[in-house]
Symmetry: C2
DNA sequence: TGTACATTTGCACTTATAAGCAAATGAAAA
DNA sequence: TTTTCATTTGCTTATAAGTGCAAATGTACA
């Protein structure tokens, strides 16, 4: 039971929902710096939330050189699928801004690979909420 | 967005998941005392969680004389439906004990109505976890 | 109208969670 | 082998959340 509650707890934070949304929308693994740029949230905050999501077994981590990537963990379990579904059922209007910035950021990839780091090292978490 | 996060936050607590599970399984409104008996959690704890669930617009409240009833709020929104789905997708083995006690308690209804209060006023929350 | 019973609420306490900053780690390239 | 850059981690602080108990509320019935 605890593993289920742990996953559900992860859903109770807006930043984590936004992070998961980017991964669902990208339908691909995302570099930490890409998430930071898309969401305009400080990199250390993103990093900590990614750690929690990984800890709850919702996402997978992988490293490629300097960059660290995360993606939704594949699962056939109805419960895990429903976690994705519930995020997908949040009306897009609440996430449209993130989605646009994400797309912009993904367009900067070369050969489908992340080649730059964080665009603005001084971004702050409170530009938009 | 806040209303969505508020609902999701509600899912991050085991006691609230167990409460919602009883309502889903009963497929009917439940008296507070019935929930208390089914879950073996102190009545004031149940009461507080019910308040939160109601506050998040997940459940509805209604009073009939001495008794107060709660039930899952009807909704056609995909998000709200997914909340129910995600709880339904927790394997029954984790909730079987609650389900059995709930059934026992529901069998004590007369003409489909709750007629008794809390069976054991001194129940404590930590008998099973 | 007062007594009993179901439920809620206020307060105290403890534990969990989130964010910010600075320092640390890890890997690549100069 | 030093520098650079991406990311993580430790520490601190502020705030939220859950529980327990006692007192309060609200309703029915004697």
């Amino acid at each position: 039971m605890k593993t289920y509650i742990k996953k559900l707890k992860c859903l109770g934070d807006e930043n984590r929902i936004r992070i998961l949304n980017t991964m669902i929308k990208a339908n691909d693994k995302l570099c930490v710096c890409e998430i930071v740029d898309a969401l305009n949230i400080p990199f250390y905050t993103i990093s900590k939330h990614l750690k929690e999501l990984k800890n709850a077994d919702i996402i997978d981590e992988s490293r490629e050189g300097k960059f660290v990537f995360y993606q939704i963990k594949e699962s056939e379990k109805p419960f895990d699928k429903n976690i994705i579904e519930i995020i997908k059922s949040i009306p897009e209007s609440y996430l449209i801004n993130d989605n646009i910035l994400l797309q912009k950021r993904l367009n900067m990839r070369e050969d489908g690979k992340c080649v730059i780091g964080i665009t603005d090292k001084n971004q702050c978490s409170c530009k938009e909420s």
